[in-house]
């Protein structure tokens, strides 16, 4: 588990100005802290695809946005992510909470696009969104890393720098609830 305070401190060090989000369980502590702190503007969106277009506008206008969404929302964003942040080559850090990661990890499953099928997606005890998360990011050309615990918080700055260098969105997958 990663402490929300450490994540927030990292975002502030990077000069993040806006967080675009749809709330979820795993980001609850971080979002509550963002609101309580007030140093970074939180923009609530109605659907995750909006977040990428708004982020593209914020970046074009000179700001430093971050997208904070659940992996279910990531799957919703397909065309918006493709047509805005990717096509405009927006350097964009995406914090994506990884629903279903624990069930996937406990089985030691390494999912690739080739191993995804209807049988796997409908298997009891597995969360199908977790099955699709990493294959989707790979297919969409979004590099990613993991944030499992406090010690991984430095991955945020690394991903941020990678996004700047590559001029594109880069994701950090938050595998456990923030605390």
């Amino acid at each position: 588990m990663a402490q929300a305070r450490l994540i927030l401190d990292e975002l502030k060090k990077l000069g993040v100005t806006h967080v675009l989000t749809v709330p979820d369980n795993s980001s609850k502590a971080l979002l509550n802290l963002l609101w309580a702190d007030g140093g970074i503007q939180v923009v609530l969106v109605t659907r995750e695809g909006e977040a990428f277009a708004i982020a593209a506008g914020l970046w074009t206008g000179g700001k430093v946005p971050v997208v904070l969404i659940q992996n279910t929302g990531l799957l919703e964003t397909g065309d918006a992510l493709r047509g805005t942040a990717m096509r405009m080559r927006v350097p964009l850090l995406c914090l994506i909470t990884y629903r279903g990661y624990a069930k996937l990890a406990v089985r030691g499953l390494k999912v690739t696009p080739e191993t995804v099928d209807a049988e796997l997606l409908s298997k009891a005890g597995l969360d199908s969104v977790a099955v699709l998360t990493e294959p989707t990011l790979k297919a969409w050309g979004v590099p990613y890393d993991f944030l499992h615990a406090d010690a991984d918080v430095l991955r945020i700055a690394e991903a941020f720098r990678k996004a700047q260098n590559l001029e594109q969105p880069v994701a950090v997958l938050i595998t456990r609830d923030t605390t």
Binding site: G49, E50, L58, T84
Partner: protein, 221 residues
């Protein structure tokens, strides 16, 4: 005086009662020429069937086409710009089919408190660049009513040129977010090609280059 123009939406059978209803509307020139005349340092975001017509009246460093992008995301891109540049007005000329794709954005705009955003919906009741197929709710959907319900500070609908021209200066200075529906004639624009024959530089370069051009222009002002 409203002019007596009538049309019916392609794709709706002539037996439909709606095809007999007469409606008035503006031409794209009547929509865009007064806007281009009054425009000073506002950012103008266009999309779909309004991209090239706007470029016939304007070639400004703060023009940007949300085209060859993702349909439905011009208004939220404009919202991002408005939040980034609160001292500057942002005008978005959105399509009706595009607006329908992201109606939730109306709520997001109001909730984000974008007082400097003016969102137009250019309503021709059809998906113009794909061949004028009717939008869902053609001739019945009330975009300004939706915007009012979402909490826009001002939301108006125009189908008369003189009324539009008379009200436009005030609209451009009204505290936002402001929503404007303009009923326009059906057209026959094709998708933006981003090839050298496009009229303006920002329509010829890639979307990524165009975004960087706008970013530079905003940074210099």
């Amino acid at each position: 005086m409203p002019r007596d123009k009538s049309f019916w939406v392609p794709g709706i059978p002539s037996s439909s009662k709606r095809s007999h209803q007469e409606v008035t509307f503006l031409t794209k020139r009547e929509l865009l020429e007064p806007l281009a005349r009054l425009r000073t340092d506002q950012v103008v975001i266009t999309t779909m069937g309004i991209v090239r017509p706007w470029a016939r009246f304007s070639n400004h460093p703060l023009d940007f086409a949300s085209a060859d992008s993702a349909m439905g995301h011009a208004a939220d891109f404009a919202l991002g710009l408005a939040l980034a540049q609160p001292q500057r007005r942002v005008i978005c000329l959105n399509g009706d089919g595009s607006m329908l794709m992201t109606l939730g954005t109306l709520v997001t705009i109001v909730n984000a408190g974008a007082r400097n955003l003016i969102l137009f919906v250019v309503q021709n009741d059809s998906y113009e660049i794909t061949g004028n197929q009717p939008i869902p709710g053609a001739r019945s959907v009330d975009f300004s009513g939706l915007a009012k319900s979402a909490g826009f500070r001002r939301a108006e609908t125009f189908d008369d040129r003189q009324e539009y021209e008379r009200t436009l200066p005030e609209i451009l200075h009204h505290p936002g977010p402001v929503f404007v529906t303009v009923k326009v004639e059906p057209g026959d624009e094709e998708p933006l090609s981003r090839r050298p024959e496009e009229s303006a530089l920002y329509l010829r370069c890639s979307l990524a280059e165009s975004a960087r051009g706008l970013r530079r222009a905003l940074g210099e002002r």
